[in-house]
């Protein structure tokens, strides 16, 4: 696999915001999902890659060649902007034809390129519409087709599935996944959505506060989130500072007066991460092989999609979050103020 793009020590400034010292490498045909809180600098990073923002420091290489000073129009990338930026005075067809035309493609070849791109995203029927006649999902498809029409070496996607209706979202998600398989797409895809990331990514990267926190293969990042922020983004709702110690082939984690058992760990201070879904909730002391069983008092109940999140105080100032179905909530009689038992396996605990 060839390295397509490398960022070396990139720093860039937008107003008072700084992107600092970003190192990143992307291989051909890799699909990297870039996550992080709002204002982390994800879009800024895409702008630097696209050449719309000149970095203050650092280098960008494409196939090993330094392209730091190459203007955006000379970079073989396609950019799908968060706000689409379709040209309002052109039809969808003309929008998609804009890139190939700028590169001198004309006639039959141009019509072919536009048709190919529109077909790829399922937008042939929108060819003659103007941007103001398109729904959010349709406009996004056209923007995607426009970026694809140049057959870019790298596709930059800035929250492509945000702010569109659920049906279009699922359809586009499917199309992106298909594109990945069929045309060997290389992409950097910015999103807030964990499920989107898990569905598309083979590589994950996290940013916060203008810095790249972690980047790597999907499995690796899922298994070893490098920080609390990454762990929380990956869905570990319970992240506790703990002291970790080896014992009997397992690890003992102490948080205040509480002690947990984990199948993995290391000596010293660490973060204990636990998914809400991995905690079993009951009213009676459970008969289970789970190594961790504690008593707690329910302090809050919150709807969580089709489920209910239960927040239970287990002492030492620790509040754990678990989820149960509304049916088990009714059956168990879980209310604020009642005592419950929480159980989870040693193998469910991630120590970072």
């Amino acid at each position: 696999m060839m390295v397509l793009l490398t960022l070396e020590g990139i720093s860039a400034r937008v107003g008072s915001f700084w992107l600092r010292d970003v190192d990143l490498a992307l291989d051909e045909e890799h699909y990297m999902v870039l996550m992080g809180p709002t204002g982390a600098g994800k879009t800024t990073l895409l702008n630097v890659v696209a050449g719309l923002l000149r970095p203050v420091e650092g280098r960008i290489r494409l196939d090993g060649r330094d392209i730091t000073k190459l203007p955006p129009e000379k970079r073989p990338f396609g950019y799908v902007f968060q706000d689409n930026r379709l040209f309002p005075h052109m039809t969808a067809w003309e929008n998609v034809a804009f890139g190939p035309r700028a590169r001198g493609v004309r006639g039959q070849e141009l019509r072919e390129a536009v048709r190919w791109a529109l077909q790829l995203v399922g937008a042939e029927h929108l060819a003659n519409k103007r941007p103001h006649q398109l729904s959010g999902g349709e406009a996004k498809k056209v923007a995607l087709a426009r970026a694809l029409a140049l057959r870019p070496r790298l596709l930059l996607l800035d929250e492509p599935l945000a702010h569109i209706d659920e049906r279009s979202r699922l359809e586009l998600l499917k199309r992106l996944a298909a594109l990945r398989r069929e045309v060997g797409l290389t992409a950097i895809h910015v999103t807030h959505d964990r499920l989107e990331a898990l569905k598309l990514a083979d590589h994950l990267a996290f940013m916060d506060n203008g810095r790249l926190l972690q980047a790597g293969e999907l499995e690796e990042v899922l298994r070893r989130p490098s920080s609390e922020l990454v762990a929380r983004f990956l869905g570990y709702e319970n992240v506790l500072r703990c002291r970790c110690r080896r014992s009997d082939g397992l690890y003992e984690l102490s948080v205040g007066d509480l002690t947990f058992v984990a199948a993995e760990g290391r000596e010293g201070d660490a973060l204990m991460c636990l998914r809400a879904e991995d905690i079993l909730v009951s009213r009676e002391e459970p008969r289970t092989s789970a190594r961790n069983v504690l008593r707690g008092r329910v302090v809050a109940l919150e709807p969580r999609g089709p489920l209910v999140a239960v927040r239970a105080d287990v002492g030492s100032g620790v509040v754990l979050t678990c989820v149960i179905t509304p049916a088990s909530r009714a059956e168990l009689g879980v209310e604020v103020g009642v005592d419950v038992y929480l159980a989870f396996k040693a193998s469910s605990v991630r120590v970072i």
Binding site: A50, G51, L52, P71, P72, E73, R75, F77, G78, Y79, F81, D83, R85, F87, P88, H89, F98, G99, A102, R103, R146, A147, L150
Partner: protein
């Protein structure tokens, strides 16, 4: 003052006052236009329409105003775009400069242009190409009317998001291509409105033109000349003809969907 008009006063007083003021305002504007046309003996009007001097002045006016507008487009649109994308201080100072010819009394504007070719100026040798020449008319018209196009086009470019230009460049378009295929078409309406204002201003310009070029006579200079020589009797038929012509032009523009004062 206690609760005004609506609550305390008799109902309908404010609408009545407004209607009365509107009628008064319209009458004040309409009266001279109607009187110059309707109080002109038809035979005199017919003579003015066939008068070679009037027709020649019309030709000179239309030709020079059109050349002035094309010149203003060629130089003004790039300037407008540059201003729109400039930093605030640069833009404010250049726009203040552009406002001077518009605000200056137009005879004063004419004198200012003339000073550029006056006895103390190194450009003096060029004076003969301007004074009493069509070129002089164009320069005088351009000086006072081109700023209107620049300001209107600048406002139009302000409404074109820089993000769209960046999107164009991310799609492989050079700066020039992004300008011609994205910014310019999107600013088209504002530029056309500006061009129309410039053309109208150039057509009706008297003060600056008369200082630089009494001859060849444009319509405004001819009207002034006829008035000096023969008073109202000599100038009214020409003006009556102009009113008819103006109405025709406005009707033509309206049928093309263009309104010079619609602002966009």
């Amino acid at each position: 003052m206690s609760a005004p008009g609506r609550a305390g006063g008799p109902p309908g007083l404010v609408p009545f006052l407004l209607a009365a003021l509107a009628v008064a305002g319209t009458s004040l504007l309409a009266a001279p236009i109607l009187s110059v046309l309707l109080l002109c003996p038809p035979a005199e009007l017919a003579r003015a329409v066939a008068d070679p001097a009037v027709l020649s002045a019309l030709a000179v006016s239309f030709a020079t105003a059109t050349i002035t507008t094309l010149l203003a487009l060629a130089l003004g649109v790039p300037l407008a775009y540059t201003l729109s994308r400039s930093s605030r201080p640069v833009r404010a100072s250049i726009e203040a400069l552009l406002a001077v010819p518009v605000l200056l009394p137009h005879t004063a504007a004419g004198v200012a242009i003339l000073s550029l070719f006056g006895p103390w100026s190194p450009l003096r040798p060029l004076a003969s190409a301007l004074i009493d020449r069509p070129l002089g008319i164009v320069v005088a018209q351009a000086f006072v009317s081109a700023p209107l196009l620049v300001l209107s086009a600048r406002a139009a470019f302000d409404d074109v998001p820089v993000e769209l230009e960046l999107a164009a460049r991310s799609l492989g378009a050079s700066r020039l291509r992004a300008f011609f295929y994205v910014s310019l078409p999107l600013a088209r309406r504002g530029i056309l409105a500006g061009a129309l204002l410039t053309w109208a201003r150039a057509l009706s310009e008297f003060g600056a033109v008369v200082i630089l070029a009494y001859y060849p006579m444009t319509v405004p200079v001819l009207v002034y000349h006829r008035f000096l020589v023969g008073g109202l009797r000599a100038s009214q038929p020409v003006v009556a003809f102009l009113v008819l012509l103006t109405a025709a032009i406005l009707a033509l523009l309206a049928s093309a969907g263009i309104s010079p004062y619609a602002g966009r």
